[in-house]
Amino acid sequence: MSSVSSQPEVTAHDAAARGPILLLLGSALKWLVLAGVLSLVTSIQLIKPDFLADCSVLTHGRAVALAETAFVYGWLANAGLGVALWVLARLGGEALRAGNWTMVGTAFWNLGVTVGCIGIATGDATSFSLLQLPRYVQPLLAVAYAAIGVGGVLAWTGRRTAGTYASQWYAVAALFLFPWLFTAAQVVLFWSPVRGTMQAVAAGWFAQGAWTLWLAPLALSGAYYVVPKVTGRTLPSYDFAGLGFWTLIFTGAWTGGRHLIGGPVPAWIPTLGIVACSLLLFHTLIVGLNLRGAFFQSGAVLKFTAFGLAAYLAGGVLDALFSFRSLAEITQFTHFTTAQQQLAFTGGLSMMLFGSIYFAVPRLTGRAWASGGMISLHKLAATGGVLVLVGSLAMAGWIQGHALAEAKTSFAEISARTRPWLLAATAAQALLLFGNLLLAVNFLRSVCACCCGESAPTASPFRAPGVMEAPAS
């Protein structure tokens, strides 16, 4: 198997994709580091409420909204789109077209997110989860997204291959579904807002839709591409991939009510959410079956992808389990829900995207990563960080939930009981930030080496495949 991955094919198509995709990935990493800093701030504020409390741009509420926005619209969106466009161009058998559109779109998307973050810091957040960006930047983001997506759509419609792959389905679905979700949510939340708690229902529909129909498919398109490429084998149980895909697409947004259990909304909404969470297990199961090859091979790309996959699977099971009313009664409104979200985002999606980035960047730049040691260190920091973060937040949430269920326990007491776990979570945030900084530096060095044309080894563009993919087994 090592013979397959030690000769990574660099196609002519990658040259056309280099500029746009590297721009998307670079912007993504900038936001990833910023989101890490902000998450660290919010985590410290949970231990020490007075931390930066007098700084009105970073009250806890605003810092949480900022960290979430930078992470989702900055990091996940840019990186996911970069990976999805690259995969679509490669699988379509054509050079990436409309690269200029993608570059201009990326510039405006990042401008929009920057303006939006300034808006949140100065008090224009919408207070809807995963849609905190002020309404005035939303039209700009929609237009910029369309410009970025042009290349992907052209790669899909002009594909030279007869069949299509699961990777492409997920990428195309994400490209199309986000604008629909985004505009439909804007209509009912801002332009012609529905009344009262219906807003919470619509916002829940958007948040769960953005997660299941946009962000998860972006990351999965990368994973479905990278795993067979690196293992050099066709995916097992691939016949089921279509079922897994359509299960996600058809049930994903119906999970919208799962955070409204016991809330002031019609009871059928959370009930549907619970049912949909359980139905999604079919999707989770099929993704696990298809990509199980990732667990049995070494190499940085697959280690990241496999960890992301494991977190994605565990997240799906936890979501289904803890959406049941008897468990939600305890974990609702606690750090446990944050742990679930971190498991999905930081554990699942980020790690799958890291895997795809570690695979794609050498092929785009035409040379190996600048530093292999930094990759190993990033892997250690990221896996350790996610495990500690999710574990400690889950423990803090579990304790908090049980303490909230004792009517006599005061909030000071609850905060004292959860404090050790929140300290651990803060340490984990610092570790994650450190790891992500390593990736950003490594990326910058690799791209600079490529741009400056430093000692381009023409015969073997990959200095040491062992570093890049480490097919050591």
């Binding site: 909204a65 199309f176 919470a200 016991g262 002031p264 909304v265 909404i269 609702q332 000071a412």
Partner: protein
């Protein structure tokens, strides 16, 4: 999935179905919910918020208070919301119909605030709230940027905080809430969900079916007839 048209239509139908089902479905059920007119009180509930309180909700939203406080009391047998004194009844959709941007929240790092002004035996008053916002506690941050410290010119301002001990300002100076703090507190003091809507009353527990009776349903009818 060779057929692009079918694929595309599938995506669209999937999303449209969930949007229609969840968003339009709930809107159809509750979108035209009207206030409840109570003959006994000769007033309708919920009351429309005063202008100051409505503006205060925007301050609440823009500071991100919902990151730590929910505004949804759960029913008495689901969690300990009632036992904690957050409200005698569960929050219902009708409570929120006049709110521009309901702040249900998703995290309880602090207490629920849905019925802050209706707490028993005595709710917090504006002075308590200003002091909490200015000085903070071990678990609540102090938001000093919501207050101005200034020299007393002539008479001290009526709205100044009556602070004692280490918090007290230097002689000749006073601490006054800004307009934002005043609207925020006006909003917090408007959060009152004590009126019992019919839909918020817990369902009467069905009595155990007596042998020979027509089950719980018949017993319920009898109970209603008694009323």
């Amino acid at each position: 999935m060779k057929n692009g048209f079918v694929f595309f239509t599938g995506l669209f139908v999937a999303l449209a179905a969930s949007w229609g089902g969840i968003v339009l479905g709930s809107h159809r059920q509750l979108g035209s919910l009207a206030p409840f007119y109570s003959d006994g009180d000769s007033a309708s509930f919920p009351a429309r918020p005063a202008g100051l309180a409505a503006r205060g909700q925007l301050v609440y939203a823009d500071l991100g208070c919902a990151a730590c406080h929910t505004q949804q009391v759960r029913r008495p047998d689901f969690g300990t919301d009632k036992a904690r004194g957050w409200g005698d009844r569960q929050s219902v959709a009708r409570d929120y119909i006049f709110q521009v941007r309901p702040q249900l929240g998703a995290s309880r790092i602090g207490p629920d605030l849905a019925n802050l002004a209706g707490r028993k035996p005595s709710p917090m008053d504006d002075e308590d709230l200003f002091k909490l916002l200015y000085a903070g506690t071990a678990t609540h941050p102090a938001y000093k940027f919501l207050f101005d410290e200034r020299a007393i010119v002539g008479q001290p301002t009526d709205t100044r905080l009556r602070l004692t001990g280490s918090l007290a300002p230097a002689a000749g100076r006073e601490i006054v809430p800004t307009e934002r703090a005043q609207t925020l507190v006006a909003y917090l003091l408007s959060l009152n969900t004590t009126f019992e809507f019919p839909e918020a009353r817990p369902l009467p527990k069905p009595p155990a079916p007596a042998p020979g009776a027509h089950g719980a349903h018949g017993a319920k009818k009898k109970e209603e007839a008694k009323k």
